[in-house]
Symmetry: C2
Subunit: 300 residues, 2 copies
């Protein structure tokens, strides 16, 4: 038997995991153990701090419900989601539109509606139109591309927050036409605070961060033979455009709504954005869409 110290425990842990049959799982678990142990050694983590960490992680897990994914929120505010996104993006960066965070509010099953549909049930502020083209990386229009969008209301809440998940609003699913064009009506969403009433909010508060996200519209674009694109369009005049709490903004995703003679709905201010999809590599799914209500079912 060997007495373990704070370094040899790492070797011993890796050695116990050495027979993991799935090589990718082994690679990820090995790296997780190495970094976890190095983190504890770097800060000389005390037992009291360790137990506080256990309590925090437990509270994050228990805050998750079918309508709330507190671990995604934690990943978001710690910048992990943005790192994963950047790694994913790197492969396609030259070829397609830039991606952004999926976030915890995507939902599957939104009914397909005709181009031009207003996605907000009862708008209380002026309508706008969002339009553009979906093309491949060669610039060729993609007909029948699936354009899924979701956003907050003019009050800064998703339907999951305003309606407790009972019905859907501020979500749309559209198909591009024969020339790759899409357009829909909406209202300008309000930027918002991440949920501050849970353990992640308490952490962000303890870090004296504002917790705000700039106004944005989420987009999930898919087409046969192409990498699915998860992205979002950010309104450039939002006061938090340079300090997004979850690090989702990129220069190339910044838009504004303006008078636009080419608007498909004359008289409405328009946001114009063309999406470019990278070709899928053989065997690649690129599918990252995740409905939190399904996630929670998987966890049960």
């Amino acid at each position: 038997m060997r007495d373990l110290d704070e370094f040899t425990v790492t070797d011993e842990t890796l050695s116990q995991m050495a027979n993991t049959p799935n090589p990718r799982f082994k690679e990820i678990a090995d790296a997780a153990v190495r970094h976890l142990h190095a983190f504890a050694r770097d800060v000389n983590l005390t037992p009291e701090e360790w137990i506080q960490g256990i309590q925090f992680m437990t509270a994050v897990g228990q805050a998750c419900t079918p309508l709330r994914q507190e671990f995604i929120l934690l990943s978001d505010v710690l910048g992990l989601s943005a790192v994963v996104n950047a790694l994913h993006d790197k492969k396609a960066r030259e070829l397609g539109s830039q991606s952004s965070l999926l976030g915890p509010f995507f939902r599957e099953g939104v009914e397909l509606t005709p181009a031009g549909t207003q996605i907000v049930e009862k708008p209380t502020v002026p309508e706008i139109v969002v339009y553009g083209k979906v093309t491949g990386n060669d610039g060729a229009p993609i007909p029948n591309a699936l354009v899924q969008v979701w956003q907050t209301s003019e009050r800064g809440h998703y339907d999951l927050q305003e309606r407790n998940g009972e019905s859907m609003d501020m979500r749309g699913t559209f198909l591009t036409d024969a020339d790759g064009n899409y357009h829909f009506r909406t209202v300008r969403p309000l930027g918002y605070s991440i949920p501050m009433d849970g353990p992640v909010g308490a952490m962000v508060f303890a870090q004296k961060r504002h917790g705000m996200r700039p106004s944005h519209i989420h987009c999930l674009i898919g087409a046969e033979g192409h990498r699915e694109l998860v992205t979002a369009l950010y309104f450039g005049d939002d006061p938090y455009i340079d300090s997004d709490t979850v690090f989702g903004v990129s220069e190339s995703l910044v838009v504004d709504s303006k008078e636009d003679p080419n608007s498909p709905i004359p008289g409405l201010r328009a946001v114009h954005y063309d999406f470019r999809l990278a070709k899928a590599a053989p065997g690649e799914s690129g599918r990252v869409g995740a409905d939190p209500t399904k996630l929670m079912k998987a966890a049960e």
Copy 2:
């Protein structure tokens, strides 16, 4: 605005956390972010793997109940608890007995009973006696030291598992006598598998690990002016003594039960172990005891 890549996201995250008022919290959160991001970059974590990780952490959080602390279990099987323990131990290694893992089964509020009490309500195998002395690092006996012990039954289960938390068994609280002596009756606990029916068990299974802990008795020893000692005594002839799933065994904590002419209860096989407590530094609590039922209350 600056477009973030997988490296500059880290700088931006640290910059958003730069105003954290508590310097120790800032130090820990900064190191956590650095290692978390480096981990994701090292393995080039994909969005699909990230979402699997989110699902796993959520499942771990949701598996926690007042009677089960799945995050402590995760920390244990990943060797993190042993690292924290080794770091804690390093300060006292020359001065006191070696420490071991607290584990998730400690409970507060076990009634104080006289020396020699049998801690198992209905023993079905031969009784043994555990005895010894509690001393300071100078070897001087410590009277009135609090000796708390807990263990599995001869069937390999804690009371929290056998009795659903409704009553206590296989736990004892004793005070040392004027000469620093303690002794209590018990049975030899059976080594056991960590709980394999939750997400952490599924992980251990996927790693082809046996999931077993060698037979042991947990001990939490406290005395005025001394560092609290969290440790455990391990039975050396257990088949898993060299491959504890949670990395808790140290050479100096290995015992056996044998015929012993000095046994305080003649006729019973005895385990003899003397505990040495390090002096507490001024202002140091060293308190790491954590009752899972209280932990869960804190998380609610």
